[in-house]
Amino acid sequence: MEQEQRKFTGEGGHRIWILAVLGLVCIGLEVVVHLTLRTAVGYTHIFYILLVLSALWYHHKALFIAGGLVCATLATSLFVGDLTWATILRAAMFLVITWIVATISDERDRARRMLQEQKEEIEKKHYALVGYISEAALRMKNPLEMLRDNLTSMRVQLDQGPDIEELKMMLSVQITHLEQIIGNFRELNREIVEERDEIPEAFREFLTR
């Protein structure tokens, strides 16, 4: 519903109106030139503007418009009595040209969509990686600083007559912190290796070991 409304009011709205005006012009030409003036020369070239634009914007749906114009041309020719092989050929060309333009437009739009999707996917992965690296840095730099300060404090304690049990306990804590930091670092390496295809296999294995 919302999409339908957008067709008439938003980006696609002006297209509908352009095609509607061109459709009216084509019908008018058919009535005035063909029915009234009884000539079929020249005016049908205008039809191609409508057909090409509708095929560009609405792809194969434009074949309905082409079909309508074919019907109108054949009907007026029958009414006027000038239906010849040239009229049939002209009507057939409406359909052929519309189909060709619609197919090319369809292919172009599909390729554009694919490119856009690929670009979005790459950007998403890139931002995820940057976020991950930032998070990993946060989880390594700061803890390492704390570790350094804890070790410094232990070093000072050694000079002041150490409590061996306390030092043992503190050392165990620092080892646990370090093990976790190494684990975090390994995890970061794995993420980077999985992201970058150009890293040789031997280095991949080394980084994630």
Partner: protein, 198 residues
């Protein structure tokens, strides 16, 4: 009094993020505890950086009344593999990354209706970053601050000043009432953790 700093506002505001340099973290922890006990609070210390047994020794050496301090220790069992003997007054959690058990321990310690004024001291958010992604820490701190607000209990969250990235810092500052930089002269800090005009 030097130790007062902005903690003097504890009566009006309940939750603080306290930033400290890494090298002064332990001293600042002691200064905060001294101030809180001096104001009649029973302090619940959640430690993820130093074993509670060591903290107890340091507190005792500083003349802090240990009857006023309760510990939730999330590092000793994980680092040493056992609970030290004679630590019956301390709640031990298996690992700093075990937020469920940590949450349960906090709830248990804060719930007793003893009528005492209680304050929670979290030491420290920076150490938690070793064990957990910042998003989990942020959610956990949000859970704890919500609980503290419900129970009308003040809380102080210690963190290393330069160890928190701007995104996490912004999130944490939205959970607390104010930010205190222990290594800066007294003054009211803005939500970004900086003094106005800086």
């Amino acid at each position: 009094m030097e130790t007062q700093f902005d903690i003097g506002r504890l009566g009006q505001e309940k939750l603080f993020l306290v930033l400290s340099s890494a090298e002064r973290l332990r001293q600042n922890n002691i200064r905060v505890i001294k101030t809180l006990i001096g104001r009649g609070y029973r302090v619940v210390v959640i430690t993820t950086n130093q074993p509670s047994a060591i903290l107890k020794k340091h507190y005792a050496a500083e003349g802090i009344d240990m009857g006023k301090v309760t510990f939730i220790d999330a590092i000793t069992k994980y680092a040493i593999g056992r609970i030290p003997e004679g630590e019956t007054d301390t709640k031990f959690v298996n690992s700093p990354s075990n937020l469920t058990d940590l949450g349960i321990a906090i709830t248990e310690v804060l719930n007793p209706a003893s009528g005492e004024k209680t304050c929670l001291l979290f030491d420290s958010i920076s150490t938690m970053l070793i064990y957990l992604p910042s998003i989990h820490i942020s959610k956990f701190i949000h859970f704890v601050t919500s609980k503290l607000r419900l129970l009308d209990v003040p809380g102080i969250f210690l963190a290393v000043e330069k160890g928190i990235d701007p995104l996490l810092l912004t999130q944490l500052t939205t959970y607390v009432d104010d930010v205190i930089d222990m290594d800066k002269p007294p003054g009211i800090l803005g939500p970004d953790g900086k003094s106005p005009g800086t």
